[in-house]
């Protein structure tokens, strides 16, 4: 690669302009330790690069944190009651969930995974529409354009390239949109993760890659995914800055993700933020985490809970009053009640919809198949009316 190219890249990156390749590279490196602004005991932990967000902002986000925990609890309960097919909980990761949503403006886009239900709801998507996927009525229950939230991605890391595409189009269209794309630690091993970072850097598009490192990919611990010094270090290989942040520190997340979003919006290009957090519960309700980790490991992270430290911090500063705590709790209860009520109501599924959206216009084959199913259903209905067992599933006629 010629020097000219390196200088060109350096200028585009900002910050490292004009430096030798090694100082340019140095500028892309993450902090040696994850950025922390409030420690687990709730004490401030000043950092000259990242000022503490102001009290109002923190208080507002704290309210969302309380709601986020409540959403996780409620969804877990609904799985136990058989109302949801499955729920990948973000219990313990709520600070990441809230921060990812609240650092974005209305013109921005969020690209979440299956684990990021709380982030999606925090961004304003109707909780019942979000939970459609996990309830099993349809694959995606909300319109991605309405709140600029992509569908929750299950095939790992694939959504990161879509995020790059949305950002690239926004750039071509002259929009000021920033895209925040989420993935887990395990997903960083997929090829698509690497292709997305490289594309974003080469096209210099406004994407913030937000990796929630919760130390596990189902049963596989991080040490089996990578021997890099950190996941944030991977950014440098693609020519973008990486940063590490305490993923249970809401204040630090708001500051670090906020800076990455600002930087992207100001034309600074993509960056990667790795939040160090922990998956407190099993991968999903169907997983048995005792097979691969000890209760002690989990216990250690209880003390680092994101809610605990923020509550202490806000109380010490007299920012969190008895009334606001009650208001937040009432708010969280109200959200949980909406979810509970909605999911306890049987929704009518419409089987003829199966053929409606495969193509913009139904093929003649699909029209035929839809007619066949309608006929079957009508026959079943007649049989049911006549009191015989004509149900499609019935293995006897």
């Amino acid at each position: 690669m010629s020097t000219a190219t390196n200088e060109g890249r350096g200028r585009r990156m900002g910050g490292a302009a004009g430096g030798t390749p090694s100082t340019a590279a140095h500028a892309l490196l993450p902090s040696p330790e994850p950025v922390q602004l409030v420690d687990p005991e709730g004490h401030p932990h000043p950092d000259d690069r990242y000022p503490l967000p102001d009290g109002d902002r923190l208080l507002g986000a704290y309210g969302r944190l309380i709601a986020g925990r409540r959403i996780n609890d409620q969804a877990n309960a609904l799985v136990r009651q058989g109302r949801l097919a499955v729920y990948p909980s973000s219990h313990g990761q709520e600070a990441c969930q809230v921060a990812a949503a609240v650092v974005l403006g209305d013109e921005d886009w969020l690209f979440p995974t299956y684990r990021d239900t709380v982030a999606v709801i925090t961004r304003g998507v109707d909780p019942l529409e979000v939970l459609t996927l996990l309830r099993g009525d349809w694959h995606a229950g909300y319109d991605p354009h309405e709140h600029r939230v992509a569908t929750q991605a299950t095939p790992l890391a694939t959504q990161l390239l879509h995020a790059v595409g949305v950002a690239h189009a926004a750039k071509l269209r002259g929009e000021s949109t920033v895209v925040l794309a989420m993935c887990g630690d395990g997903a960083t091993s997929e090829g698509d993760f690497h292709e997305a970072l490289n594309f974003a850097a080469v096209f210099h598009v406004p994407v913030v890659f937000f990796v929630q490192n919760n130390e596990f990919a189902i049963s596989v611990p991080l040490k089996n995914q990578t021997v890099a010094p950190s996941l944030a270090h991977k950014a440098i290989g693609y020519g973008m800055p990486g940063e590490r942040v305490d993923g249970n520190d809401l204040a630090a997340l708001l500051a670090v993700l906020g800076a990455a979003v600002d930087r992207a919006r100001d034309g600074g290009g993509p960056s990667l933020v790795e939040a160090h957090t922990y998956r407190m519960q099993a991968h999903t309700n169907a997983d048995d985490a005792t097979r691969y980790r000890s209760a002690d490991d989990v216990e250690r992270w209880v003390l680092k809970d994101p809610i605990l430290r923020m509550r202490t911090y806000l109380k010490t500063l007299d920012l969190l009053t008895e009334e606001s705590e009650q208001a937040f709790a009432a708010d969280a209860d109200a959200t949980a009640a909406v979810i509970r009520k909605g999911l306890n109501t049987e929704v009518e599924v419409n089987p003829t919809e199966l053929f409606e959206y495969v193509y913009t216009e139904k093929t003649s084959q699909l029209r035929e198949q839809a007619a066949l199913l309608r006929e079957e259903l009508a026959r079943d209905a007649d049989a049911a009316a006549a009191g015989t067992d004509g149900s499609m599933e019935g293995d006897q006629r």
Partner: protein
């Protein structure tokens, strides 16, 4: 997301009556687990790797206990990357190993597609047989388990359409054991499709007996050999993998209505057993193919074409298909509208021009 699944408890662990091993209720999952263990025991070149197959034992527990028994070098977790898993398997097979890899779910095998199609399938042919790739790609596949999107694809046609791949789909506990052993022993790459909904189905078998039978070379070959799962005289249902139990249930229901239906369990999609299938159809004169995958350009289509070409003069009616609709696999609450049902099969049988 992946729905990891514990085998449902009821009846799974029967109280051990005595010391002597005897036929006991054994799940499809357990038979696969035993086949892997026995193959690893028999041949040190056999390795098992993939996602969560180590200490966890796989999300369906098919590799349960293998790491503990054979060590981390023989059964291990890789970084989370299917293309990586498949590509590394190619290299390992080039250097004396017999890798068995697990793709966690059907739809999560797609990142490995490039490796499968361009290398796994083609390498032996490109090198005029100088490089053989004895790889087994295990894929928990198909639906009927209430799984959310990307967990229920019937992907057999992609593989069956790719020359160079052997494609198997067992439907019984015994076949699960013998076919996996045979797949591992095969010098050619095998795509081994494990119907998820059958993982917890049970048969009375003695796993030690199966092992002896296989090791003594007494197990009849299954690759390329279909089997008559239920004899009959009036019509033939041709099926494989997850649809076999549905076809058998349809045959049982038809018997109550006075119709004798033969059911063929293909077991091996590629190589395809024209002989067994056609012999049956020539005898019965009528046939319906039952498969869960969307019907358009499917394995079911291929079967119909082959039967039509070979048995035309014996046929009393066109060969029909009962398949999934040509739509993406539905969400849990809608899947029963999609899956081939006993009623749909019986309807198809009814329309085989019995009056003529």
């Amino acid at each position: 997301m992946t729905q990891t699944t514990e085998a449902p408890a009821p009846g799974t662990t029967l109280p051990d009556a005595g010391a002597a091993p005897a036929p006991r209720a054994t799940t499809f999952a357990k038979a696969l687990n035993a086949a892997l263990a026995d193959a690893m025991e028999a041949d040190a070149a056999v390795l098992m790797f993939g996602e969560d197959v180590g200490p966890l034992g796989g999300v369906f527990r098919i590799t349960d206990g293998l790491t503990a028994r054979f060590g981390e070098e023989r059964c291990f977790d890789t970084p989370l990357a299917e293309s990586g898993i498949m590509g590394m398997a190619v290299g390992m097979a080039m250097n004396g190993m017999k890798p068995v890899v697990e793709m966690q779910f059907d739809a999560f095998a797609y990142p490995a597609f490039e490796q499968v199609v361009s290398h796994v399938a083609k390498m032996p042919n490109r090198t005029k047989g100088k490089v053989r790739l004895p790889i087994v790609i295990r894929i928990p596949y198909a639906g009927g388990i209430g799984g959310v999107e990307h967990h229920c694809d019937s992907s057999e046609a992609y593989y069956a359409h790719t020359p160079g791949l052997t494609v198997l789909a067992p439907a019984t506990v015994r076949d699960a054991y013998f076919m996996l052993r045979e797949a591992i022993a095969s010098p050619d790459p095998v795509v081994f499709l494990e119907p998820k909904k059958l993982y917890w189905s049970k048969e009375e078998v003695d796993l030690a007996e199966l092992r002896r039978t296989y090791d003594d070379g007494e197990a009849p070959r299954r690759i390329g050999r279909a089997v008559v799962a239920r004899p009959g005289t009036d019509a033939t249902l041709i099926s494989y993998g997850p649809s076999v139990p549905t076809a058998l249930a349809a045959a049982a229901a038809a018997a109550e209505e006075g119709r004798s239906i033969e059911v063929i369990d293909l077991r091996s999609i590629v190589p395809f057993d024209d002989e067994t299938v056609c012999a049956s159809v020539r005898r019965t004169g009528r046939a319906v193919v039952v498969a869960e995958a969307p019907g358009f350009a499917s394995v079911a289509s291929e079967i119909v074409a082959r039967v039509q070409e070979r048995c035309f003069h014996s046929l009393a009616a066109p060969v029909l298909r009962v398949t999934g609709f040509d739509i993406p696999y539905p969400s849990p609450k809608l899947e029963h509208f999609y899956l081939p049902s006993v009623d749909r099969i019986l309807d198809a049988v009814d329309s085989l021009q019995w009056e003529d």
